[in-house]
């Protein structure tokens, strides 16, 4: 959602009403200067373009990530992100590994741009947080350990299910490039809240939606395109109190 959608339209009748109400009790009641904002609750759906490039950067890896957000109150957005991850590693003479899983994140974004007096700006800069959860299934189809003394070891490890839980801080931009179309990027810092590697002899190579499973911290970058679907508008009253001198 954009600040431009939180169109700040002052409802003069409401202001007059509240001011008169306060004036009836001079000296004891604070003066109230209420204003009413018209808030557009557009649904913004996004897809992370940077994930499309992943198979070229890491052969055997496939990722899809989508998002949805909506302005709840002025400049505060509820966000849901979800995705799918698949990884295949074939190390000749060492092992064959396959994993796939999904994740979701829920959180809040806060627009930090100052209000636009002309109500024309559609862009937002935001900071926020997410709580993420992932479920991963991984299988080692085969592994080989070379041992010239006692004999080589060959084996396989059946499918294991692993879960990851993490907290994430995010900062980014969303810029309108056409009507109902935004482009944006974000940077993210994540920290794992649980210890998925402690419950398995095969630490997950990638925890879906988090990053490398070998580290408890992860940093990420998203580059997304968003499509807005106008849904409804609501009036949001801002109460401001001023005490009489």
């Amino acid at each position: 959602m954009h600040i431009g959608h939180a169109q700040q339209k002052t409802d003069t009748s409401a202001v007059q009403k509240d001011t008169l109400s306060a004036a009836e009790h001079p000296g004891t009641q604070p003066m109230r200067h209420d204003s009413v904002m018209l808030v557009s609750h557009d649904l913004r759906l996004g897809i992370d373009l940077s994930r499309i490039a992943m198979p070229f950067l890491q052969p055997g890896r496939r990722d899809v990530e989508v998002s949805a957000d909506m302005q709840i109150i002025p400049n505060l957005y509820g966000v849901v992100e979800s995705g799918y991850h698949q990884m295949q590693i074939h190390k000749t003479g060492l092992f064959e590994y396959h994993s796939h899983g999904y994740f979701y994140r829920i959180g809040i974004d806060k627009n930090i741009l100052p209000p636009d007096p002309n109500h024309q700006r559609q862009d937002i800069a935001y900071v926020g947080f997410r709580l993420g959860h992932a479920v991963l299934q991984q299988t080692v189809n085969s592994y080989h350990i070379t041992d010239t003394i006692w004999g080589n070891v060959d084996g396989s490890i059946p499918t294991q299910t692993i879960q990851g839980l993490w907290l994430e801080f995010v900062a980014g931009l969303k810029i309108q490039i056409a009507k109902y179309v935004d482009l944006g990027w974000s940077v993210r810092g994540r920290t794992l809240l649980n210890h998925p590697e402690q419950h398995t002899n095969v630490p997950p190579y990638v925890i879906p939606g988090f990053g490398k499973g070998s580290s408890r911290q992860a940093f990420d970058f998203n580059y997304s395109v968003f499509f807005q679907i106008p849904l409804f508008q609501s009036h949001y009253t801002i109460h401001q109190k001023q005490h009489q001198p």
Binding site: S50, F95, Y97, I149, W150, V153, I157, S214
Partner: protein, 156 residues
């Protein structure tokens, strides 16, 4: 323009970070049992010592020579990854009879890293040994996950 530049820089950083840990093994992969030699002064006192060895070989047939004539304060021996026990024959230079040491353990294959592949970690359960030359032995570290830590002390 600046927005695009930052995007390219970030993408290059991601590309450079990808795949390196799959291609390259940067961790030590040796997992061996390390035995330290000690001279027992009395029931409570001991000091580390060097032992002149004629040879150390595996107990199983055909035997594999692991260490040939040399002097060591400690030796690192590979444990059998296909069984739950390993036996070694330790023949010092100074005596005629060799000692045999049997180590019983649990083992688990673990993915060390995508670049290095799998290794076997061991958890020592019990040890048995002959006392031709060995006075006593103790397990000081049950977890065998590398080559750097001492796991068993042999007192002479």
């Amino acid at each position: 323009m600046r927005f695009r530049l930052w995007t390219i820089v970030c993408l290059l950083m991601i590309i450079s970070a990808c795949n390196q840990d799959i291609k390259i093994c940067e961790e030590p992969t040796d997992v061996k049992l390390t035995i330290g030699f000690y001279h027992k002064i009395d029931s409570t006192q001991y000091q580390d010592t060097s032992l002149s060895l004629a040879y150390v070989q595996t107990l199983h047939q055909p035997p594999v020579l692991l260490i040939d004539t040399s002097t060591f304060q400690s030796i690192s021996l590979p444990l059998n990854q296909l069984a739950d026990s390993s036996g070694f024959i330790i023949q010092p230079d100074s005596v005629n009879l060799a000692d045999t040491i049997l180590i019983y353990y649990a083992r688990q294959q673990k993915l060390l890293s995508p670049g290095c592949g799998f290794v076997t970690f061991f958890t020592i359960d019990t040890i048995h040994y002959t006392t031709h030359h060995i006075d006593s032995a103790s397990v000081v570290n049950k977890s065998v996950i590398n080559i750097h830590e001492e796991h068993i002390r042999l007192f002479y």
